[in-house]
Structures are given as C-alpha cells and as structure tokens.
Symmetry: C2
Subunit: 404 residues, 2 copies
C-alpha cells in the first residue's frame, strides 16, 4: 500500500485489548504510516511510539465521567483532517465496532464523503477472560454468549438492560464497564431467577502485566469489589465457564507476572527488551535515562571520515557506535566500499552483529586482541573513539523492579 | 522470545477471520518459529506459507459432516509433539476460545502438564459483519449482542437453543454455522414473537476477496439462501443494525473487490504484490510459474567471483539477479568490500534499490547508458550474465483476472 493511496483516508483501527502482541499486522502498518493519530484512553501507550516522527497525536479519550472531547467534535476533527489530505488513524481500544462508537464515526465520514476502512482488533470481551484462564465459550457449559454494556447512554431516560431476560440466559454473560453497578446488576439477576451461586469473574487491565482478577459468585461479588478496591474499567464474566479458570490460568502464572519493570535504555534499544519481558508477563515502563547525542566537535569527525583510507583499524565499542558511525558515514559516502581497506574490531558479539548486518567482516574482538598494536590503532582514531566510549558507558541499562 | 523458551510449548493461536492483515503480531511470530503447525480448515491458506521450511504441517480440519481427525486424537497429537520438545502452533480460524474448542485442548494440555499460551485472534463474529458494512453494536439500536452457534453438538439429544428466550432479545443476534438451519431458526424466532420484518444479513468468506453477503428479513432469508445457492460456513446477523450496511459498506465497494487474481511470480517475490492487491479487495491465488534456479555450469561462476577485481563494470539486469549474485558472493567472501572497485549498473529502479539496500551506489542505469563501453563490459562478465538475463525474462509476471 503506497503512501498516496492513504491520503485523505480515515482508518478506524482497533488497538486490541492491551498486550502489544495482539495488535494486528494491518493496524501496525496503518499506525506506522499515519499523519494524524486520534486516540482514546488505551490500555497500552506503546502503540503511540509506533507512529512516525511527523505524526500529529491527538487525545480524544474519555473516562466514565470526564469527556475529553465531545463525540461530535471528534467526528468533525476526522473529517477536517481528511479534507486536508492527511492519512488518519482513529485508534480505539479493542475493536472499533464493539462498543467503540466506530459505527457512529463511520456514518459521519460516509455522510461527508470521506473514504474510510475498518481495521478490526482483538476484543477484550474474550481476550481479558482468556488471559484470566476463562474461555467464554465451552461445549460443556454453553452454546454461546451474550455481551452487554453496564455503562449505558446517560441520555437514555431509563435502563435498557432487561434483567428479566438476561437472568434466563443459558449462555455465558459478559458485562463491560459495569464495575460501579455490579451490586445492582447481580441483585437484579438473582431477583429474576439466576442462581445466587452463579460464578462471576472480573478482570481489569486484562492481557497486560497489570492484570487483576477477582472471582466470586453473584452473592458476594459486590463485596469483593469493595474489599479489593477493584476499579473500572473491567470485563465481567458471569457463568459456569468461570470454573475453568482454576486449571487454565496460564497468563497470571508466568514467571514475571505482576512485576513492574522500568527499562531505562535508549528509546531505540528498549523495545526488543521490553517485548521479551512483557512476553514473560511483566508490566513494562520505558523511561529512557540515556540519549545518544552527536559529538559537539564535528570537525574531528569530518576529518576522520574524509581520511578513512589512512586507518589500519577501526574499533567499534558498542552497537550504538556502529549506528552513529554509519549514520555519519552515509551522509558523506554513497557506497559502503568507500570505507576502504581498514580492518574492523568489535567490542563484543552485539557490536559484531551490527557490522555483520552491513556485510562487513569483523577481524578482531577486543577481549581476544588486547595487543599493543590495537591500542595504538585506537589512539589513531581518537576523535571517533571519544564518541564511542561515551556511548558504551551510557549504554549499560539500569533496571529496577518491584512487586506491583 | 528466544527459540529455547518455545520448546515443548503449545500455542493456541487464532488466525483471524481470513484477511491476512488481521493476523496479530504475536501469531505471526509464533508461526514463523513453529516446529509443528496443526491447522484447521482456514479461510486463508497464506498463513501456512509463513511457517519455516522445516516446520511439519498437519491438517486437523473438519467440515460439517466430515471429521478429519477426531478431537481426542488432535489433543493427543499436541501432547506427543510437546513431549518431543517441539514448539507447536495449533492454528484455528478466528479466536481459539470462541467456539474453537481451544478450551478443551487447553484442558487436555494442562492435564498432561504441557505448558501452553493462548494467542487470541480477531473473530469473524464481528469482523465478517464489519466488512459487510454492519457494526454489530451501535448505540442507536442496541446495548449489546448475543452470539450462538447454529451448529450444535451432535451428541446432545435435543436442541439447546432456547428460541423463546432468543426471540425476546433487544440486542443484536449473531448466529454462526447456521446456514443449513436458517429456515428453522427464522421460523422459530417469528413463532416466539420476533418481528417477521427483522432484518437479517448473512456473510460468507467474510474479510476475504471472495466475501459474499445476502440481506433480507426473517420472512424471506431462507428463500434467499436457496435462490443464491448460499453455502456454509457463514456469519448471520439478525437485528436492526443490518440497516447500517447500506451506508457503511466500505469493503465490497473497493476497486478490486470480487476480482480473483492469479499471481505467477516466484514465491519470494509474490507476497508483496499479493498483499497490495488483496488490500484493494482482490482475492489472490498464488501459483508461481517461475522458479529461479542455479546456473548449471558453476565453474564460470566461481571463476568470475574470484576475479571480481578485474572487472570495470558489473551489470545487474533484475532484482533476482542481485539476490543470486550476492547469495553466491557471500558464500565465497565475508566482507562486501571484497567486491572491489567495479562500477555498478542496474537495469531499473527495483534492481537499483536492491543494490542500495546493500549500501552500494549505482553508477549507471542502462536506459540512460547504452554506450558501447557498457556493452563491452557486459560481455566481460558473460558467464554471470547468462544467469541474469534468464532471470530477467522469467520475472515478468503473467496475470489473469476474472469476475468471481
């Protein structure tokens, strides 16, 4: 999909339930090519960092009582930006067409002649229970499920929830946004004939490292909410499938589950580490305490690059050093062969790999080659080495962890 | 996630509804690193091609009346392969925990002590209607939705569908796998009080280029199924939200929707083109009619590579030519600088880009440089050129299209 075909188009994109791995390939592509990203309160902010540097980020999120931008204004914003020829991503938690008001936004866009596409996402309706060990369908327990929102349109005069009907269901019942009203909901369901012993599970921050689940039944769930100071938003499952949690709770049993880990690496280097830790169940906060900066005295650098042919060795002391070296190198030279015949040394395997990615052969690794010849050749390229030693020091990641 | 941590583990992975762009990042990663892939009848076979070459592919799919492998055998297969230390992907259409029997497989794995993870997927429950222009929730029409399967457990003595209950719902009703029974379902819903005018939409092959939708109401939908020879499997939506289809039908209005396009490029080159076409709504069938083969007389090739320094020009006549040249080059040389000082010519921008990806500068493009000097230099490297001219001819993609 080339960039031009995205101009003036709005993508209604589902960000999934929170786990960044549950983003779809198409959503990732849309975000990476967005000029404007209009986003709600998301379970994970990592998605925003996927947007290109020029992308305008606009928060349109809302929490229960606090509307950030009225829906009408959001609609108008999408239309205006589209008319400016921008490629717009309207990013919503979960799926845009499941309680996401995506349908309303799509109608407005259609009415104004703005082309749009829907990029469906994994919904927390089933993914949050799934990560809590509860498949919402199971042949032994049900033939389907019903999903309702406990947070209703405040402009509607009376409750549209038909408790008499819901209480008679044979299927799993999933309630979204109903934390504050779980007392009323459970009382009404019992009053209309649902068993007071019916199992209930509530999961908040589902699929993320902060996931919390409480399990009870219709009789005691409201007390458990108070007792655990359990807050919205959450996904509530009412039904016999809740009993499966005991054996199928894979996610919360992961080695790093419940750990909050701060990753202090540079922005560029953090994501791979963050991803690995989050796959082990950790909750990641990226706070880069390091930034790689350009050398202040660029004269040395320029001289060094124009005289590369005169060096016998070039010693790379960190992966960052390789990145910066070639960042500058390719500003001056178009062809990698302009590097000349210098031999290359790398401080360790990660640095060597960076060179190998450029199809350059590493002649020496310092832990083996500490002979005076290499030290001398390092002195020859002192102007560069100032940069690289600095980066190498700064690179060592500080990491703290504590129980969530 | 390193390979070791996947050994002996089963990933219950949702492949999404069919559109390959709706696969999740995590699902793609799991498939790319799988040793064994056990898959059902999927809406899209493209996913299988993402598996590594050594991966064992096992079909465990079933259609309504034709069970390929009994569920018990599938469970045992997963356990056995895990005990062999393999990394196993159990790939299911949609989401593994929504009518996918993922819960049953997870229970078996847990009972046998096999570690597993669930990788949730986008479900056709909402994505297929979404691609047909129907958001299954919308504040103007409902507070939620109910999903049931019309294809029930054949071992159960009587229908577990409670029509009296379903007919009273205020919410959107989604029925899976109910094509053969739509006559009974709609009659029963009317008999229990649902309006005979209630809109109904049925979508098959949802989110793919073969998507087909029929729209009617409870009274006439069974006739429409017969009339259009509409076959299972399909997602059926019953509710007022169906009326939104008229304005929100973005997918079926795409420029290439309904076109079936055969892509005959080499396997390696096809996927990017296929992806672009499928994003425009086309249904893609990849049938590679070309295969790039190694030159039969390798002596010439070896001689040429060992004497690269003696050439003034190297002329690349296709992107495939660049790939093959460097495939062989890096078998002999470790460092790209061993290419020496030869100038490089590329037949066109795609070939030049391949060289630029290797950070090599292109000195000439043949459509500008047809001077006798270049022709002479091409004759110098005739042994290579035999390969590259062949590839260039074979590369031109044949493409046929017809209305689906």
């Amino acid at each position: 999909m080339n960039k031009e075909s995205r101009a003036g188009k709005v993508y209604l994109v589902g960000a999934g339930p929170g786990d960044p791995g549950l983003l779809t390939l198409k959503a990732a592509e849309c975000i990476r090519e967005a000029d404007v990203l209009v986003y709600d309160a998301l379970a994970n902010w990592e998605f925003l960092r996927m947007a290109p540097a020029h992308c305008e980020l606009i928060y349109a999120g809302k929490r229960s009582k606090n509307h950030a931008i009225p829906q009408g204004d959001v609609n108008q914003l999408l239309v205006d930006k589209a008319h400016q020829g921008k490629s717009i991503v309207r990013l919503k938690g979960g799926d845009p067409y499941l309680f996401g008001r995506g349908g309303e936004e799509a109608e407005k866009l259609r009415a104004e002649g703005v082309p749009f596409e829907v990029v469906h996402g994994v919904s927390s309706i089933y993914a949050a229970p799934g990560y809590a060990g509860i498949p919402i369908t199971h042949r032994d327990f049900c033939s389907g499920f019903t999903v309702i929102t406990g947070h209703e349109d405040p402009t509607k005069p009376e409750s549209s929830l038909d408790y008499a009907h819901l209480a008679q269901t044979r299927e799993t019942l999933v309630i979204l946004m109903g934390v504050e009203r779980i007392g009323i909901i459970s009382r009404e369901l019992i009053r209309h004939g649902m068993s007071p012993d019916m199992p209930v599970a509530m999961t908040r921050w589902g699929t993320t490292g902060k996931q919390k689940t409480i399990v009870g039944n219709l009789t005691n769930i409201a007390d458990l909410v108070t007792q655990h100071q359990f807050e919205a938003p959450a996904v509530t499952v009412i039904g016999k499938v809740v009993s499966l949690r005991e054996s199928l709770n894979w996610f919360e049993n992961q080695p790093l589950f419940g750990q909050r880990i701060v990753v202090t690496r540079t922005r560029e280097q953090a994501s791979q580490l963050s991803q690995k830790l989050s796959r082990l169940g950790a909750s990641i906060l990226e706070i880069p305490t390091i930034r790689t900066v350009e050398p202040t005295q660029k004269g040395y650098l320029k001289d060094a690059f124009s005289q590369l042919g005169s060096y016998e060795w070039i010693v790379f002391t960190s992966p960052n050093g390789v990145d910066w070296f070639f960042h500058w190198f390719f500003k001056i030279h178009k062809d990698i062969r302009s590097l000349g015949g210098a031999k290359l040394a790398a401080v360790g395997p990660a640095t060597a790999q960076k060179l190998k990615d450029l199809h350059l052969d590493v002649d020496a690794m310092p832990h083996k080659y500490v002979a005076p010849e290499i030290v001398r050749s390092m002195q020859d390229i002192q102007s560069l080495e100032n940069v690289m030693v600095l980066l190498m020091r700064a690179e060592s990641p500080a990491r703290t962890s504590r129980k969530n």
